[in-house]
Point group: C2
Amino acid sequence: MNQAEVDPTQLLKGVLDLAVLAVLAEADSYGYDVVRRLRENGLDHVGDASVYGTLRRLYQAGALNSYVVPSDEGPHRKYYGLNNRGRKALDQSAQTWVSLSKALNHLLNGRSNGHGK
Amino acid sequence: MNQAEVDPTQLLKGVLDLAVLAVLAEADSYGYDVVRRLRENGLDHVGDASVYGTLRRLYQAGALNSYVVPSDEGPHRKYYGLNNRGRKALDQSAQTWVSLSKALNHLLNGRSNGHGK
DNA sequence: AGTGCAACACCGCATTGCAGAGTAGTGAAA
DNA sequence: TTTCACTACTCTGCAATGCGGTGTTGCACT
């Protein structure tokens, strides 16, 4: 059961996975920074613990690889980056997300349209 | 704490609430039918128990009113419909949803655009 | 009539994700 | 030294999802 793929049912509550994956796709980074970037991008209320948890989960699922970069200006930083598996997972999750988002948006706008399909 | 309003953190996993609310906004209906409609609209993997649970939760939160319609073709049907509170909740949730969805979509497309306005 | 099935409602349990709070360690500023 | 901004991580509680099961009421078959 260490598939990196998300099963659709999980996406309902696992939007964070997708977000983290997306951020990591732009550039490798470490937990603290991921949180910062997520918040800068509109996900302002994500708890850091959630992100760390997500990171760990993703890592254990084999979607990420990580390496420690010692810093001379503070504690070490544990970078995470997408690997093939991760990119695939991102791709798939993104797709699922798009359908979900489309379905939802359709539902939300559906009251003003004249004829359904 | 029985506010019908969703706090943003909940939306991450509570997309179902919004979906159910939206379906109910189109027309009153009963659990079994809600599931059917949800599935027809792309939310194909929602479990019926989840929907019943959501319905009950929403009802207890005061967002829905319900009435039983005896059916001559089977057991009675327990209809649910939005009340003012429900509409407000839908409205608010929808808004939160839109921001979230925007943020996510931005993240997902962010790699190919030069500068977001 | 009896059996079985489909439509319908609902519950309990286990799993899992998310968040809050707390621990810990480093380097720089006060 | 105390404090603070960074950085990582753990424990724990809560709430939501889903599965499987239970029960009911008609209808179609046999």
